[in-house]
């Protein structure tokens, strides 16, 4: 990694967040997401003198030799790539960001194998060979270009073997087109398979109809069943989109889990093509519904069972590790998305958007990357840079910046408060829940 520039933080930025849980009094030190338990006496004294508390937290938050400077803008080697392999879809979900893969005409043609191969070649050439490399398949519905998916997996797998690289795959699919050959492919390779499913048949069919208007749930359930029953080396998870018109998360998630999905994540719409995104008044309702489901999962975890809500499981894992980043995702850093024409974009949601185009398989636009990352560093965002959640949230999806509001940010902070307290309680009661997640740093 090469540090090219620095975006200084705000002197007004809070260095800590005080919180309490069933396990006692705690301090989140914002830089590097460090969590400390406080004696009641220390907690009381910090609460009396917030300036002293902030200085105290700043000292606890000093960057150590093992950690990256949070103000630095680094352009790491690209490590993962998504290929937008299909410009069409057999479903017609109203909220789709990709216009069923056509991106408003920006990606009219379907990706050719040679384009995908060039992209993969480029990725394998520039990635850090000591770390895992991920190749993802998106669309549209990627399995509409099944031949390419299979070809690229074999192509990349062969290269990985030659070059002794750790190459993994991911695919996001609506699940309705999964064929037996696909299941074999997923099982035999290290595939992270994310299936978009919005709940039980009623909710799902309302939100995710086939192009002819009929529901897609039954087809999805049937096609996904063999994979769920025997995933092989694949990791299968569900992704449930939440629209503004229904917040019955729990029954919908239960329906998904009952199909055999070990985990399901939820994603509320902030920007939606059909206007179904959550507005300010909806965020508290969504928050309460999400925390209710997570509370149930926390009770399960306290009994030693796995957490099935991906959002919660990931949050706890990241809090445990002290995940701390000035970026919400790897866009333009370690992650790129390749359009059907071979151009590299910072993000799969921005195909066709010139502001996100950062090169091609021939060459990356390094100065474009730098300015892209400088502009999107959390220290460069006026409202985010003075938020205590800045290194956990980092401002959220770049595509959704315009939809950021006090209400939606309050949801993030409330959710993080809940996760922080849950982490302290779970790690007190069941430290073993986190024990196996402690891996030595590479």
């Amino acid at each position: 990694m090469l540090a090219v520039s620095v975006v200084p933080g705000s002197p007004q930025a809070p260095n800590y967040r005080r919180f309490r849980s069933g396990a006692g009094e705690h301090l989140l030190v914002v830089p590097h997401t460090r969590i400390f338990d406080l004696s009641h006496a220390l907690a009381a004294s910090l609460d009396v003198d917030v300036q002293a508390a902030d200085r105290f937290a700043a000292a606890l938050g000093e960057t150590s030799e093992l950690e990256a400077d949070l103000a630095a803008v680094v352009t790491p080697a690209p490590q993962s790539l998504s290929l937008n392999v299909s410009s069409s879809c057999n479903l017609s979900c109203g909220y789709c960001y990709a216009d069923r893969g056509a991106f408003g005409g920006a990606q009219a043609a379907t990706m050719q194998t040679v384009v995908a191969e060039q992209a993969v070649e480029r990725l394998l050439a520039v990635a850090d060979p000591a770390r895992p490399i991920t190749i993802g398949f998106l669309g549209g519905e990627p399995l509409r270009n099944r031949d390419l998916v299979h070809a690229i997996v074999h192509f990349a797998g062969g290269r990985a073997q030659q070059q002794k690289l750790d190459v993994r795959f991911s695919i996001t699919t609506n699940g309705t087109l999964i064929a037996d050959s696909d299941i074999k492919l997923f099982r035999d390779h290290r595939f992270a398979v994310t299936i978009s499913i919005d709940g039980d048949a009623v909710a799902h069919d309302a939100q995710r109809p086939l192009r002819n208007g009929s529901g897609s749930f039954a087809r999805l359930a049937k096609r996904a069943a063999p994979l769920l029953a025997d995933p092989g080396r694949a990791q299968v998870a569900a992704r449930m989109t939440v629209r503004c018109d229904r917040f019955d998360l729990e029954p919908r998630l239960n329906a998904i889990w009952s199909l055999g999905f070990p985990e399901a994540g939820v994603a509320p719409l902030r920007v939606a093509a059909d206007g179904s995104e959550l507005r300010d008044d909806a965020w508290p309702i969504y928050r309460d519904a999400l925390i209710a489901v997570a509370s149930r999962e926390l009770e399960r975890a306290m009994r030693g069972l796995p957490i099935r809500l991906t959002n919660f499981a990931v949050a706890l894992r990241q809090i445990h590790a002290g995940a701390s980043s000035p970026y919400p995702c790897g866009a333009g850093g370690g992650y790129f998305s390749v359009a059907a024409d071979g151009d590299w974009y910072a993000c799969h949601r921005a195909i066709g958007d010139k502001r996100y185009r950062l090169g091609s398989s021939a060459a990356l636009d390094e100065s474009g990357r730098r300015s892209f990352l400088e502009a999107r560093h959390v220290h460069a965002k006026a409202d985010c840079r003075i938020c205590w959640a800045r290194y956990l949230c980092a401002g959220g999806c770049h595509q959704e910046t315009g939809a950021r509001s006090v209400a939606s940010c309050n949801f993030i902070r409330d959710w993080l408060d809940f996760c922080l307290a849950s982490y302290c309680e779970l790690s007190s009661t069941r430290p073993d829940h986190f024990a196996h997640r402690l891996k030595p740093k590479a």
Partner: protein, 599 residues
Amino acid sequence: MPPSQPKLFARNVAAVRRFADPSNLLSITAGNPVSTRLESGIGNCFPGLECDLRNLERRFFPFLEMDPIDNFIFLASVDTDGVAHAEAAGDLSQADASVYAGLADDLKAGRSVLVSRIAGTFGVLGPLSLNLGLPALGQAPAIDGDLTIPSTGPGRKPPDAWTAIRLLNEGTDVTLVFVNDDGSKTSTLTAKRARYLDDNGALSAAFLPGELSQSLCSPWTHDFRDCGCFYWASNHPDIAQPLLSPGTPAGQPWNAPVPWERRDRTVRATPPAKATEAPSEPIELRHYEINNRWQELHFVVGGREITAPFSPTAVQGAPFRDLTELLANLNYAAGVELAVAQEYLAAAFSLKPDSDPSLQANPDLPGDVKAARAELMRIAIGEMRHTRVVNDVIRGLSDAGKFEPALRVASQVPHQNPGPFRPVMARAATRQAIDDFIQIEAQSTGVDGLYNNILATLQFPPADVKNRVTDEWIQAIRSVIAEGEDHFETFLNIQEWLSSHSESDYLRALAPPRPPAGNPGDATLQAAYASVLNNLYTGYKKGRFLGADEINAARASMLGSDGVVAKAEAVARQNFLVTFTTPADPRFTPIDPPGVLVA
């Protein structure tokens, strides 16, 4: 032991990484080290190294700063802001506030203000009303006041003003009468003796930064010369064993302490003159001289001056093969403790009693004999304690219900030259006996060698020991080894103290005979000894807590006018050797060293 209530506990990996090894997730993040706390400071009243505690008493009365000097108390300042604040808050009456204001006005006008009378509760001396000293004020003559030196006997008063204030009970009423320097005005205030610390144990906010250290020793090198080791406890010995001349082994006459700050720094083939109670001039570096020559003072490690880098030598024992061998050696170790305790007691009682007029022949002799006897007794008691420790460890390692107390006196004890054992020999504290005791306690060769092997077995346990070891047993054996080192050094001291006297000067007899059969004094001693053994056996057998009655009884039977010690003294007074006869009882049959055939 970690503190039970840490103030700050690193919970997640990132927090731990900030301070420690990330794999050690549940380590406790310590706060400031204990050495930074006020109570760890080398503070005293004379005037202190890190803080001068006398400065606390300058704030003993609310809103006032005082200067206690001899039997005077001068007013130094008035906290008028504090007075105003307290009055506004309703914590101080208007009348009192105006008294404070008057005192402040006097000081402002350049007039001295003194306390002429102080009434309150003075700790152990109880409620008193004391007149303090006053210089001549206006027409009035100087007054000595009630404070007197010496401060002894019934109706005693504090010796000086600072001590008087120091004695005042926190939170009790104190009444002060003030007088200004022309004697024209008196005023009175009553308030509670101020608190010096807040609820958290931190210094009260009444004290300004630097106030506690405003009267420290300076320059320190100068004071280094002036103040003795009772003052510079940690880094300034008055006396130390001298730097060894090159190629000279430790031993007499190099073990005698010499003045550490001696002026003559030459290292000769003979040691410097021994330290005496004679005046330090001109032997020691002079006050100003030491400002320039302090670098020549030697480091002292283990009581000995050194100039080369110190390299500690770790003694490592060799583990025994299995539980059987370990238990055999533990049983023998208990026997050795009993045997050497008996040898040390025989030696202690062979020394002339303090009342012996012949000790007066040499001015050092009474003190040397008294110290040697006291240390022999202390070490003997230490060995008895070790017997208990070893029994606890044996119990811990034994199968439930199979524990048999180890109270068999050893037939032979470890010895170096000739080695590895020698028979147990009760005898007077001759030079040879003390030499043998030094060998017994010598690290790695004597009984400590045995314990080092035991410790190694517990630390690197063979399979059948592994599940029985607890940290408690390891620490118990460690403490026995550490005390053995203390015994070793103490015997070196005893050797040194007695070396300048002839054996006949300090021994009742060089080779006292054993008491003849039927000697009534000895018979009662042996009966008492048998009773001690029986009590210990029963007490150990019952185990901790349950056996407390018997063990306490054994301990109690040692002391008092009818105790074992008194009975032994009666035997020694007849010029007999004090010995202990093993009762004819299989529980107490003498034990041989394990694995050694005894002829």
